[in-house]
């Protein structure tokens, strides 16, 4: 690579931009910034800079662009595909200090935040004001900047959509150091190309997000959660389509297999309402009106029973519901606590979920690995934990690429794609051409070159520039 190293002179210039204690370069302190939650090897940045303002970010990018030093923006480091791992070293910008909620605009139902705000804190804050920020990824300690960069989804996708649907405005620093404001507080916008939509989901390759305006919705105070066990995965997944066919769109419909429930129980050290069935569907029902909630519970419950549910358990208290959803949210962390895991993030049209899950299990069997299937059944996004367990390293390293190739081939053949919400980053880069045709990838590369002529911003992610 053509990149230059961060030398003494560059360090001195960085010290003129931010406070000295916001520059970290000794190896122990930068260890935390060398990897994310994917299984790839750590790659150390040469220097970590904790910025406090947009202007600092702009000055750093101006310097890096002049000096040809790669820059990796990083949020919570909870990514699952290496998106924030600085594979060429260089400067890593951490947003841990840009973590303020700047304004809650109750008239426009919008909130302005800095990129380092944790999703958990954002949820807590707006819910105290009886509002909801719907995107709800399992990893609550991800930051909003990272969520926007991967177009994170989460559990409420089926009804509300994904992060993209809630980003109204962005302040972005370009790799060439200019600061631009995209979008804004207008609900409608018919004014030229939507550059904001290019930045969302760009995995930090086109610009650095320094501020975001997010759309909120009123919080439905009343909710219930159905916990529905099934004797097989097929019945569980076909129920989901049936519910939606019946024109009921619950804010969350999740699917979890038995192995996922059991690993969650071990991790949380408590029991879930039932763990003896092979598959489960979890459904959240919300409304302002108690009568309507009860009607929906009965309607959805009956659809479940018609589709061979073994039982339909109903949690109505907040505590019980939180216990169930925490069990769902923790599955990736829980599996990782027990060993090496490859996390797959296929998404297919909703009606193809049964075929996808059957295929995933067949592939796991073919390679002799155990897997856990769970995910956002309502929107067709299935996560699969492939577990290494006691397999030796060589065998694992040999098998995984073939296994992933099979899985992605399956997903694409079902008119799906290779990542629903985690991103391409580094770990899926080699599979990216399976999911997008040559012309599209060429256009993407051209766009990258226009934004970042020197290819300094998060290089080597999604695709390599030739």
């Amino acid at each position: 690579m053509k990149y230059r190293k961060v030398n003494e002179r560059v360090l001195k210039q960085l010290a003129a931009i931010v406070e000295p204690n916001d520059i970290l370069s000794d190896r122990e302190r930068i260890l935390d910034y060398a990897s994310d939650e994917s299984s790839i090897e750590p790659h150390y940045p040469e220097v970590v800079v904790r910025t406090n303002t947009t202007e600092e970010v702009s000055k750093i990018l101006r310097l890096a662009n002049q000096e040809l030093i790669p820059v990796t923006p990083r949020g919570g480091g909870t990514g699952l595909c290496g998106g924030a791992v600085p594979i060429y070293g260089g400067i890593l910008i951490s947003f841990e200090k840009m973590n303020q909620i700047l304004e809650l605009d109750a008239e426009n139902l919008m909130i302005t935040v800095e990129p380092g705000v944790f999703v958990l804190d954002l949820h807590t804050y707006v819910e105290e004001h009886d509002l909801l920020y719907p995107p709800d990824p399992g990893q609550k300690l991800g930051t909003i900047g990272g969520n926007i960069s991967t177009n994170a989804g989460g559990m409420r996708g089926v009804k509300y959509g994904v992060t993209r649907d809630f980003v109204q405005g962005l302040e972005v620093v370009l790799p060439t150091s200019e600061i631009i404001d995209l979008g804004g507080k207008t609900v409608k916008n018919s004014t030229g190309y939507s550059l904001i939509d290019l930045i969302i989901g760009a995995e930090g390759t086109l610009g650095v997000i320094t501020k975001a305006i997010l759309r909120l919705v009123p919080l439905s105070k009343l909710s219930s959660t159905l916990y529905v066990p099934y004797k097989n995965l097929q019945d569980a997944s076909s129920t989901v389509s049936k519910i939606i066919q019946n024109k009921i769109i619950p804010p969350a419909i999740e699917f979890v297999d038995q192995s996922s429930i059991l690993v969650a129980e071990r991790y949380l050290k408590r029991s879930m309402p039932r763990n003896d069935a092979p598959a489960y569907v979890l459904i959240r029902i919300e409304d302002k009106d108690e009568t309507q909630i009860n009607a929906d519970i009965e309607a959805v419950g009956e659809i479940c029973l018609e589709n061979n549910a073994l039982d339909v358990l109903v949690a109505d208290t907040r505590g019980k519901q939180e216990e169930i959803w925490e069990g769902r949210s923790c599955i990736i962390d829980a599996a990782k606590a027990e060993g090496l895991v490859e996390v797959v993030d296929c998404v297919v049209p909703r009606a193809s979920i049964p075929a996808l899950i059957k295929g995933l299990n067949d592939i796991a069997k073919k390679y002799g690995v155990e897997c856990q299937n769970f995910g956002h059944a309502g929107d067709g996004n299935v996560h699969t934990n492939i577990l290494k367990k006691t397999m030796n390293d060589d065998e694992w390293n040999n098998k995984i690429p073939h296994l992933l190739l099979d899985i992605y081939t399956l997903s694409v053949s079902l008119h799906g794609t290779i990542s629903g919400e985690h991103g391409i980053g580094l770990t899926r880069k080699q599979y990216f051409p399976m999911a997008r045709d040559e012309k599209q990838i060429e256009l993407m590369k051209e766009i990258k070159r226009v934004f970042d002529p020197n290819n300094i911003l998060n290089p080597g992610k999604i695709f390599d520039l030739d």
Binding site: K221, P273, I297, V312, L313, V314, T317, R318
Partner: protein, 262 residues
Amino acid sequence: MIIVVCIKQVPEIADVKIDPNTKPLIREGVPTILNPFDEFAIEEALRIKEKQGGEIIVVSMGPSQAKQAILKCLAMGADRAIHLTDSLFAGADTLATASTLSKTIRKFVPKFDIILCGKQAIDGDTGQVPLEISELLGIPRISGITKLEIEDRKVVAHREIDEGYEVLESKLPVLLTALKGLNEPRLPNIRGILSAKKKEIKIVTASDLDSNTNQFGLTGSPTQVVKIHTPEPRAGGIIIHEDDPKIAVNKLVQFLKKERIL
């Protein structure tokens, strides 16, 4: 085994906000739930019935909305319910409440074996009503139980105390109050929810219990709530941060001396 379970509908406490200026509790728009302690009571009743057979009768005093909490108990598996609802019951203190409930039990379920209650309601938090019921009915009680066994015509219960637990025995009939740890309440299921609608909920008003209705509600309450206030939040503890443990200990000793603790 005839089991009476007394229950109460309460606000979901996590959602109750306190108005700093005037009113202590903002209940508007706050969801209501079955009192969590009562869930342990109903679950224990169900387990007894599953082993020994019998009937579970839910008794609750509350406005018409309290039917939701009653339906939950029926959905979990209780057989029938008595709903005491009448504007004359409003404003009852713990004694008037206990008196109303005990009259109801005496009149409508005279041959009960066990009365199960939650240890306390999470809104009022007094824990007085169950004990007053047992007094008024003249039966023994064991409060705050975390384990229960029934042999022939007696119960053996673990009762939580500060130092651990006591094992107490009582003959039937007896009143028991349930504490967290007694069991893990089941979630109602959809079949239960649908069948609950078909179960009997007997509506009982003040005049059904006694022609002298002065003894109910506010007029029948010897105690009154004069004022509700929010207690001052407790100040946080002191943490002594020192790299050198000697300095830290010194500071601690000085502090304890100053406070005349040492």
